[in-house]
Structures are given as structure tokens and as C-alpha cells.
Symmetry: C2
Subunit: 302 residues, 2 copies
């Protein structure tokens, strides 16, 4: 599981900082999460192949989280993409995009599929044989969802020495990986646990931005490997957090602690601060395992 931060600053793009966008690589999927202005250029800068992006998740319709989407869709068209593209987003975005395609008389030659969200309960919005994605309803000024990405349990690993010793026909290997006991060439039932080892533990990642401090998300994100939680403010501006429905670094850390996550990544920093290390030190007064996002930074969680 690998996370590439394309942008992790709030509000307006600047020459040296980008609004929210990140790429989560999990079980061979490449999920794009949020798409502020300039995201397509940051994808290029980070050498992420456009063709690998098939699913885009948009948290909410404030500009710093989606103004780059229409340009990315348009660039995919100009590059003659054929693969379908799925957009998971609040209701309304489809109208914004299609209106602009209509005015430009420029329709995509690939299938563009919007999954517009309106529920205020957590729901499963994507599933295949390897990964599930759930929404995490957040508390912000407009309708907002975070997203929880969960690997499914993988296959058990064959202990090949033990398998060969047990004289099991190759036709049963798939059953073994799936956890079944099988009968060997001599007609003896072999206990699965004797010839296989546990699968890699499934990874999970929760993206929570933008949101006020909100304990309602704790049961949804309980025990995730990595929580990306917004921390727009430091303690000195804590009074602004509830007013603007954002969080402080300490609030993000409190959520991480209560949800017993393994690692907290902080992001969505207000551009008023020069020293990001203050976010880390304030959060660490509450929760130890804290990382700071930064534009262009890659985290490897394997």
C-alpha cells in the first residue's frame, strides 16, 4: 500500500504548494482522491500513468478539492483514452462537468461514469475481489465524505516443502490457498494449517478531509493501518476550527487515538503557517505515530 501526496494544503494553490489531491496504490488499484487545480500537472511530475487511474473519489465540492477534475477529464480525452473512468462524488458534480463538455462541444470518447453520493450514512461504494471502498460521512460546511479503502483478505501462502512432502496433487493448490483441507494422492485428508501459512494481513486506509472534530467517524475507521486526517489549524487558532468546520492537529490526533489507528498522516494545512513541524509536535502530545504529508511525498505502508 503506497500513498503519494500530490497536494496537501488548504484553500488556494501557490507556486510552491498544491490543494488537495493524492494517489492511493492498493492491491494493484490506483485510486485518485480529490483533485484540486493543478492535479494533472502533479500527476505528470510524480510520473503517475494517467491510464492507471480508473476511479476518482471527490470528498466535497469546495474548489480546492475538485477544480482540477474537469481539466483532467479533458486531458484524458485529448490523449484519446479509451478506458472507462468512474467518479464517486457529491451530487451536482456531474452537472458541472457535463455543462462544460456541452459548451466546449467536446465529449469524452471514453465512458465517464458518475456515482453521485447523497447518503449521510457510511455506505459501500466500490467492491471487487480485492478491495472495498466505503464512505465516511464527515462534518463540514457542505456535504462531505471521507473514504475508507480496505483490502480483502488475500490467499493463504503455500508452504511448498510441506505441500510436496504431503504428496498433494497440483490440482488442489488453489483450494489450499482458499483455506480448505484437501485429500492427498494417498487418500489422506491433509489439515490446511499444516501446509499453508497466513495471508498478508489486509491493509486499510482512511481519508478524512475536510471535517470538524467528529467522533461519529471512530467506529468506521476503527483500527485502520493509516488515517489521513485534516489538520488545518494549530492550537493557536483552535477557535477557528469549529467556525470553519475544520480540525486542529490535536483534534486529528485525538481521533487517531480513540480509533486506535496504527499511523496518522496529517494534511490540509492552512497556508498561514511556515513551519509544519509544529503540527507534528502538537499532535504527538496526544498520539505518538504521526507523519506529516507534503506535496510530492510518498509513503510506503507495506
Amino acid at each position: 500500500m503506497k500513498l503519494t501526496i500530490l497536494g496537501c494544503y488548504s484553500a488556494t494553490p501557490r507556486t510552491d504548494t498544491n490543494p488537495t489531491s493524492q494517489v492511493l496504490e492498493i492491491n494493484n488499484h490506483m485510486f485518485l482522491i480529490d483533485c484540486g487545480e493543478g492535479t494533472q500537472v502533479e500527476l505528470r511530475r510524480n510520473k503517475i500513468k494517467f491510464a492507471r487511474i480508473k476511479h476518482i473519489f471527490i470528498s466535497h465540492l469546495h474548489g480546492d478539492h475538485f477544480f482540477g477534475l474537469v481539466g483532467l477529464i479533458s486531458t484524458f480525452r485529448l490523449l484519446t483514452r479509451e478506458t472507462e473512468l468512474h467518479i464517486y462524488c457529491p451530487k451536482g458534480l456531474k452537472e458541472v462537468i457535463t455543462l462544460q463538455m456541452k459548451l466546449a462541444d467536446s465529449w469524452t470518447n471514453y465512458q465517464l461514469i458518475f456515482h453521485e453520493l447523497t447518503s449521510t450514512e457510511s455506505e459501500l461504494i466500490f467492491e471487487d475481489d480485492k478491495v472495498q471502498v466505503f464512505t465516511i460521512p464527515l462534518d463540514h460546511r457542505v456535504y462531505t465524505n471521507g473514504f475508507l479503502f480496505k483490502e480483502k483478505a488475500g490467499d493463504r501462502h503455500l508452504d511448498m516443502d510441506a505441500v510436496l512432502n504431503a504428496n498433494i496433487n497440483v490440482a488442489y493448490y488453489r483450494k489450499l490457498k482458499q483455506g480448505y483441507d484437501v485429500v492427498n494422492e494417498d487418500g489422506v485428508l491433509i489439515d490446511n494449517n499444516k501446509v499453508t501459512t497466513d495471508p498478508n494481513p489486509p491493509k486499510s486506509y482512511a481519508f478524512c478531509s475536510d471535517t470538524a472534530y467528529n467522533e461519529a467517524i471512530i467506529p468506521i475507521i476503527k483500527g485502520v493501518d493509516v488515517l489521513y486526517h485534516e489538520s488545518t489549524f494549530l492550537d493557536q487558532h483552535a477557535s477557528l476550527a469549529p467556525k470553519t468546520k475544520h480540525s486542529t492537529a490535536k483534534e486529528a490526533a485525538t481521533i487517531a487515538k480513540k480509533a486506535k489507528v496504527k499511523t496518522l498522516v496529517l494534511g490540509h494545512f492552512s497556508t498561514r503557517y511556515d513551519n509544519l513541524n509544529d503540527f507534528k509536535s502538537e499532535a504527538q502530545t496526544v498520539f505518538e505515530s504521526v507523519e506529516l504529508a507534503d506535496d510530492g511525498k510518498t509513503f510506503n505502508f507495506d
Copy 2:
């Protein structure tokens, strides 16, 4: 008159090139022309003060000419702008922008005034005591206008030695600047030409992008000081120009020659070419005074 190129490449933004946007400084106005994705960052990079931009001209509704506008409008709001902002654009853009403001529940605290254009004849769309702006109907795949910026003739300059010698009361200086003959302290009528010199010749700038080769614009842009004309293609791809309704460097030069402009600036280069000098050399087989636009380049035409 000063022109700053923020972006001069066609189609998609890349790490080292930007889509169309430029700033024309003329007679103390700062006009923003087109606004591709990333324009607000390029304005910052080129240290152009946001507050000085009061009029934005959008040629047409292909993304590489306007996808940066909604973000710029939003950033102005976040920076608590109060000055009104005028947008001159094809019909439809107001709906695109207001729909996004509605979904974000984020309305500007400054007045945002759209002047939506539908005419296919050249028309006067802005005028004050110093400058006029006219549309230049272009021939592209969607409704498109270029823009002609014309300084009005300025005041005559006082020849102060002559004025003092002629014994003219200071109360008449303004009349002198306006070209009137005036009566001096001795009751004698003074010939204006004896005590003033000609005003600076008024400058003019024509922006023509995107367009197929189109001789219909020649009467409108006749004799301008500077013509910015798109040249998406080199001769080797000349067959693509009419199909896509773009121009080659030679076609841009032919328009410049027939319209007897002083200087031609080429831009809107296809990103398929590595060497922009070929645009200049091909154009110069037709018309001598050719400049190449480039992102971040400033032209001083005084």
C-alpha cells in the same frame, strides 16, 4: 504597453508549459486575457498583483482557455477582494461559474459582473477615457472572439518654455493639453501648435486565438502595433489546420502582412514540437517582424 505571457501552449498543461493566458498592461489598465488551468499560480509567479486585475476577457469555452477562471474567482474571494470584477466571455460561462459557487455555497463578497457575448460582428465591449476594447470574431470550432485593445489619443504635451514665454495663465493649461488655442495674459490668442507637442501615438494590441486562417479579421486589426496570432502548427502539419480550425505560422504571418501590423507575436503552439524557432523561421518567410511568445516572457512595446 506591456504584455506578459503566462501560458502560450495549446491543449493540456504540463510541468513546463501552460495553456493560454496573458496580461496586457495598457494605459494603467491590467487586462487578463484567457485563463487556462494554473493561471492563478502563474500570476503569482510573475508577481502580478491580483487586485490590479479588474477585467478578464475569455476568447472561447475550450478548457485550455478558461479552466483556471473558477479557481481565480474563488481565490479572489478567499483573499477578501472587494473590487468588482468584469468578465467578458461567450454566453454560458456565467452558468458554469455560478453553478459551482452554488454547490460550494461560496458566493463572492465582491461584485462579479458577466458580460456575455453572442454577436458575430465586431463590437465595442469596454470603453473608458483611456482605452477601448472591441471583439474580433474568429473562425474556430466553437463561438470564439479575439480582442482588440486600443488606446485613445492622449493629451498634447506642454512645451513649458514656450508656454511660459507666451505668458499663459496656468488655468488654461488643461485646455492647451486638449488642443485648444487660448488667450494669454496680454489678451493675445496663442496658437496651440506653438506651445504644445503631439501626444504619444496611441498603441493597439490584437489578440487572435484560436482561429483558422481568416481574412475577415484584417479590416478590424489593420495597422495594429502588435498582433498576437495563434500558430498551432508548422507547415509539416498544415493539413491539420483547417480540420481543427487552427492556423500555421505562415498563415499567421500572412494575416500580419495583409493587415500591415507592426509586430507579430506567435503563440498557442502545439505541444508536439520541441523547437519553437521553426515557428519563427517559417513565419519570417512571409513577414519580417516576428516574435515568439513563451511562458513567463514579457514584451515591452513602448
